[in-house]
Amino acid sequence: MTCDVKVKDRVGTINPIFTCQPAGAQFASIGIKDCIGIVHGGQGCVMFVRLLISQHLKESFEIASSSVHEDGAVFGACGRVEEGIDVLLARYPNIRVIPIITTCSTEVIGDDVDGVVTKLEEGLLKEKYADRDIQLLAIHTPSFVGSMVTGYDVAVRDFVKKFAKKGEPNDKINLITGWVNPGDVKELKHLLAEMDIDATVLFEIESFDSPMMPDGSAVSHGNTTIEDLADTANAKATIALNRYEGGKAAQYLEKTFDIPTIIGPTPIGIRNTDSFLHNLKALTGKPIPPSLVRERGVALDALTDLTHMFLADKKVAIYGNPDLVIGLAEFCLDLEMKPVLLLLGDDNASYVDDPRIKALRDNVDYGMEIITNADFWDLENRIKNEGLKLDLILGHSKGRFISIDYDIPMVRVGFPTYDRAGLYRHPVVGYGGAIWLVEQMANALFTDMEHKKNKEWLLNVW
């Protein structure tokens, strides 16, 4: 029994785990302050993605569309982008950045959005908006390439590439978080603060856990500024927590500005958080303080209450963004659980060479399958028709009906998690994330024991 990595053996997708590239670029864009992206394509590419993200965050935010209609699809639609940018700038006086995010339709018709950027820089911006500092950039995210994960990765790189500018060293590190929640950013900043490290965080989305204010004036937006992005070139080091979401940007900074760079590991669980702190220490020379020793101890105390009594040998299926899935699987192994099925929802050929996946292949001593280009049918079919028995599912809300119909407890994690309250507020990274995850998993199992009357009396004396 070993760990196998396979590609889904069907061509089609039954219940997709991921959406397409433009969604990832849009999610990245809302992390930047005074930035409104314009998605160049049909209106659904924006309307539904805004709905999706707002379902997850329970917040609204702005993303525009070039509203390509039939005439644009036939004759080219660059004019729609030009008009759209003018309208945006005229109505939103604080906008400083407009990324033009392409889609399948406008990539197929071959609209030259890079040319649009140049044209507007020479024309509209000089003529009509000369008193403002407006930055445009094209982000190419055809939907038929990669997935929302690569879309996010490409967009972060393109933002960094556009703005990073060599200046005075700033003695900061760049922390590229990957596709995370406001709660994760908060936890990461807490760890940095404990380490006394000043960092530029890409992206500052903590503010998406935003208030309702008495005067009704609150709005939700990201807080990474153009200046922050420019200053990434002057950092003393970069840590990208996720290989597949932000890794490209880290590599760009390393290559272009010779910045020492560490990519990964995703700090999920104790061990990966240890590695993260170790890396911070190595890159900055700052010691790991006693406060974090204590915090780690609190987490271990919580884990110890649960592992060998309740979690050992529990079979888990995990799906979602690759770094998240791998990080969760690693954590589950430390908790004595058995991740038996990992589903990665796109066809990225490099997954198989990921050192973490290699380590799983080398060391897992029971049957584990890792499926790439996977869909939810890869999970459901195994349960329904192939006898897969699971104790727990870890993944986002789009898989909720598998949990419901096959009566398997599930902990919602990743993006999107619209069918549970407030999950965006909680971290999965850091020691805080480890506590949150282990207790969510345990409580899900406890509820299931009671619901199925499966040794529910066990908890009488715990």
Partner: protein
């Protein structure tokens, strides 16, 4: 024209003709915004695309069908699990969605082969399902895949299956409305008349433009069945694919959402001579009149009247309980298409609220005509609204509640305006007599939520009532009411169950004797 110019839209002068404020004595000749024009890019309009109009709004509520989108996964993923069109077959159409997963190589070399593989795979994964709809997307429209040819090839090879093809790429029209039109006509051309239905009643209808949001269709079917009417099909909520192939045998098309489905009714009238009767399942009066109209058509008004009497006696006192407490509350009625006119008059007349604004994302001028004529003086009507205009309107109108979509609802939340989901409902269904009370209950719960009172308090400046541990909705809503109303023995709060639909599925109906042997053998 009493056009309303938003401050935020002064820089786009053409927007001026898309909003009006209804002045004293004004009617539609002097007060009608433009509608259903191309979207102005960059306005942050709330419109969707023609693909979602076809697939997501109309196609997918069909319950026993594999719904495949031919394109990259995004179109499928993004429209999946964002609506509440339930069904009585365990919600197959909500749970399963299919994408052909078109990748770059397919864009270059064509995606017809991968489409065929997909079709076969999907039928193999769900052997009990023999029906399929395929939706074109932007990418596959642009590369020119011949989806019909592939579907025909599969049908030739697998005679037990039937496949419908809808060519409505996202860019086909100014909004989702373009897709409504395309799928209406495509269904009629391809599928209507391809299966002969079994006729079991003297009174046979299609129920059209009804998508079973939270069970609306099942509520309405209950009334039709109590009247002894056979509902051949519903276009499309909770309906079977094969039932919709037999639409041509109905005696009457009963049309609910005229915005999304009048096209098929009009064509069924032209091609098969089936009359169209527009009805309205929202509101006691409108629903009662609708049932009476259907009854009148068949000469069974007495059956309609019996339902109206029974339901009104049961639910009217509960509706009135809320009406007393919702009087003059200001509502922004901001739905997608047809609900602005379905609801505008009915909520004012029967719930006592005041509609201060209507908008429509994808409606046409005809929808605005109906909506504005049902609004009072001072109402602001907006076509193809956008983010800044909505915020400006809310600041200007200070509504007590807003009915709109989920994401705009988040904008309202920040402005401390309670929101109800106008598309998917909060705790529906909202159709039917009981449903209308549920709607009133939801409005009441939204407006009188003690949380909204708390959220207006600035603890750094305002007086804090430190002696209060709680406030109930009743404490807020009944403060100004007379004792007579407060302690009325007739008026009561809503008494129905959390789930008002599932029980209907097990209900049995009386057999009505058929008029003639000849018609019985039809």
């Amino acid at each position: 024209m009493p056009y309303h110019e938003f401050e935020c839209s002064k820089v786009i002068p053409e927007r001026k003709q898309h909003a009006v404020i209804k002045g004293a004595g004004e009617d539609l000749t002097s007060c009608l915004p433009k509608g259903y024009l191309n979207t102005i890019p960059g306005t942050i309009s709330e419109r969707g695309c023609a693909y979602c109009g076809a697939k997501h709004v109309i196609g997918t509520p069909m319950k026993d069908v594999i719904h495949i989108s031919h394109g990259p996964v995004g179109c499928t993923y993004d429209t999946w699990q964002t609506k509440r069109y339930i069904s009585d077959n365990n919600n197959f159409q909500l749970k399963y969605t299919f994408a052909t997963d078109v990748k770059e190589k397919h864009i270059v070399f064509g995606a017809e082969k991968v489409l065929k593989q997909n079709i076969i795979e999907a039928f193999k994964a769900f052997p009990e399902i023999k029906r399929m709809t395929i939706y074109q997307t932007c990418a596959t429209a642009l590369i020119g895949d011949d989806i019909e040819a592939v579907a025909q090839e599969v049908m030739d090879e697998m005679p037990e299956v039937d496949i419908f093809v809808c060519n409505s790429p996202g860019f086909a029209g100014p909004s989702q409305s373009g897709g409504h039109h395309k799928i209406n006509i495509a269904w009629l051309n391809q599928k209507v008349g391809t299966l002969e239905p079994k006729i079991t009643s003297d009174y046979v209808i299609n129920y059209v433009g009804e998508y079973n949001i939270q069970g609306d269709q099942e509520v309405m079917l209950d009334y039709f069945h109590r009247m002894g009417i056979q509902v051949l099909s519903t276009f499309t909520g909770n309906s079977s694919y094969d039932d919709l192939r037999g639409m041509h045998r109905a005696h009457l098309n009963v049309l609910e959402c005229a915005r999304s489905a009048e096209y098929i009714c009009d064509e069924l009238r032209a091609r098969y001579g089936i009359p169209r009767l527009d009805i309205d399942g929202f509101g006691f009066e409108a629903l009662g009149n609708s049932l009476k109209k259907v009854g009148l058509f068949f000469g069974i008004e007495d059956r309609a009247q019996a339902i109206i009497d029974e339901e009104t006696a049961k639910w009217k006192p509960q509706l009135d309980w809320y009406k007393e407490r919702l009087r003059d509350k200001k509502v922004c009625l901001w739905p997608g298409g047809s609900k602005l006119w379905h609801w505008a008059h009915a909520i004012q007349a029967e719930m006592g609220v005041k509609v201060v604004s209507v908008y429509t994302k994808f409606g046409h001028q005809g929808d605005m005509e109906k909506g504005i004529s049902r609004c009072g003086e001072g109402a602001l009507a907006i076509d193809d609204p956008n983010e800044l205009e909505n915020q400006e309107a809310m600041r200007m109108l200070k509504p007590d509640v807003i009915f709109t979509g989920k994401r705009p609802g988040e904008v309202a939340k920040k402005m401390r305006v309670p929101y109800l989901n106008a598309h998917a409902y909060h705790n529906g269904p909202y159709k039917g007599f009981e449903g209308w009370v549920r709607f009133a209950r939801d409005i009441y719960n939204a407006i009188y939520s003690p949380i909204y009172q708390l959220s207006g308090l600035d603890i750094s400046k305002d007086e804090i009532a430190a002696d209060k541990g709680f406030v109930t909705r009743r404490m807020l809503s009944d403060a100004g009411l007379s004792d007579e109303i407060k302690s009325s023995p007739i008026l009561t709060e809503y008494t129905g169950k959390y789930d008002s639909v599932t029980d209907l599925r097990a209900k049995t109906y009386p057999e009505f004797e058929r008029k003639t042997a000849a018609s019985a053998a039809e």
